[in-house]
């Protein structure tokens, strides 16, 4: 593969001049510029990004560590992150933690070793000492969706409390009183917050949330299924199951179906995170939709601000309730906008 020296030789100038042309440095004569450009064209020269990064100490690359690629919410987030990053002149390398802290750490390590310019993280756990260390080391970092309290880094996320309150009110109006929630890991902020919002909203309506109605799961389908099975085995099973993410809702649906029960007649279901498939499930699922594209854009911009020396801002955007038929009643069959 042709290097800058070959180009210099072909154009009859020094490598310094070639480099100047490539980086559109002002002091290059029109003639030299033309000759270099011609040589570049003739040789099909492409600058070696590795060498360039070594010298300039920047890679123009962002690392994105998400908790689970198979979760449509995160793939959508990743897609928009890449889109915005590209617009700002950055590439993105995605690391998938699969909700496993040690895999998350592996990816963070690898990304740091590659000297990415900044890190966008949706932590799979709340404890990672590595993450804390990286933040302290001065690596530009921004949390997206989930964050870790005590690590001083901008957070870009959706606030679901309003939407959860709307949901609980909606359920109450439909006559449901025994509500249950499948929670994410207590180590994640989204795991806790959604439970707290749910509990608070219930309390305002004079409803209690017994421990037996809080299922511990891991934001993945299999654990959602198990949590739901435990609910169904209760002497007095809940009338509603609210899954704190879409994959656990899928698991809940699996379990409900395996028990021969129908939604919403026998048991109602709602989920956090709205995805296109929820329109076509049996029945269409009432969900809380996050403004994913806006979140992704805000997160990338915050990170770019931090990298480029500006002051990054934390951003919180509201989520909203999308009512469908899975909780009973007649639904105005809205679609998640896209």
């Amino acid at each position: 593969m042709a290097g800058i020296k070959d180009v210099a030789a072909e154009a009859g100038v020094s490598v310094a001049t070639v480099s100047r042309v490539l980086n559109s440095h002002p002091s290059v004569s029109e003639e030299a510029r033309a000759r270099v450009l011609a040589a570049v064209e003739a040789l099909g020269y492409r600058p070696n990004a590795v060498a360039r990064s070594l010298r300039t100490a920047q890679t123009r690359t962002l690392g994105l560590v998400i908790s689970d690629v198979l979760n449509p919410y995160f793939t959508e987030l990743a897609r928009f992150v890449e889109e915005e990053a590209r617009a700002l002149g950055y590439s993105v390398i995605i690391g998938n933690a699969d909700e496993r802290p040690e895999l998350q750490d592996h990816h963070i390590r690898t990304l740091i070793d590659r000297r990415i310019d900044g890190l966008l993280v949706s932590p799979a756990d709340g404890g990672s000492p590595l993450l804390r260390e990286v933040a302290l080391s001065g690596t530009p970092m921004v949390f997206a969706d989930r964050w870790i309290p005590g690590i001083d880094v901008p957070v870009v996320r959706a606030d679901g409390t309003g939407a959860v309150k709307d949901l609980v009110a909606h359920l109450h109006r439909l006559g449901h009183r025994r509500l249950a929630i499948i929670a994410g890991p207590a180590a994640t902020t989204t795991g806790n917050e959604r439970v707290e919002a749910f509990r608070d909203a219930m309390r305002e309506l004079g409803l209690a949330l017994p421990d037996a109605h809080i299922g511990q799961a891991h934001f993945q389908a299999a654990s959602g299924r198990r949590a739901t099975e435990r609910f169904l085995a209760l002497p007095e099973p809940p009338e509603v199951v609210f899954a704190a993410d879409n994959l656990m809702a899928l698991g809940a649906l699996d379990a409900i179906r395996a028990h021969g029960l129908r939604v919403p007649d026998d048991i109602a279901l709602a989920a956090f995170d709205d995805i296109p498939w929820f329109v076509h499930t049996d029945p269409p699922i009432t969900a809380i939709a996050q403004p994913t594209a806006d979140l992704a854009r805000a997160a990338v911009r915050a990170l770019a601000d931090r990298i480029e020396g500006r002051t990054p801002q934390s951003v919180t955007l509201p989520a909203r309730l999308v009512v469908r038929r899975s909780c009973g009643g007649a639904a105005t069959d809205q679609r998640s906008d896209r």
Copy 2:
């Protein structure tokens, strides 16, 4: 950030010795090794992958260019690709083409500029001159799922002809005669092959596939919706719509629903690619399942073989039919294995 020189100074040896320890070169004394390791530990030293790559001319990184991250089939593929690559000591950088040839080329360019060791591609179009050029240039490359005829590169894919034949037989048995297909872009192999397999299977049963029953779409939901609308506007609409991928099936479902029709009573639906949601759609969707994990593993192994000087093998694995209720009849409600 500490460099190899700092480690050398701390350990009281030369950088060469440090490097030898790090790369477990045999001729280093036990004592020097211990001192270096201690220094590494003390400084929290991590080798700079950029510098290493520049010197060794390898990045231990694979590029994966997929046509659409929002397509669950590809995210699943990506997940398994990363898993296998990690097992073999490689990282993966994903480029999402969004079914747009120019975006695909952008990612390929970027990946090549970064000097990835090999490229795994599921081309969004059949023509990319860049892809041909890259293949010719000697960059290790393997096609996954889709490929480009005329480019001499190993192909790892699923063969759907058997499963499509099973599907058509199944439809025929249920009494359906007017079958339609929503095809992917003619420029993709999967776009064509699936239509051909469908046409052949129909011909064997004495059925014709008129042009009006071939909808042109782009493997994305919106185009699947439009194609379905055209079918429904026909004076004699088809009794079955077979979508050549899962997103177009989603679009078809949208369109059918918008027309107030029911599946399978008014119109039957089947799809290529099986995904977890198909179990829970209304009704559960009959689909053709690919052995995604095996494909991913085989593709990575082929690429690693090529990179490491062994002879890579093309691999073709059979897809299989999973019957559910979306085509009518009583279904043995199988699940896609996972």
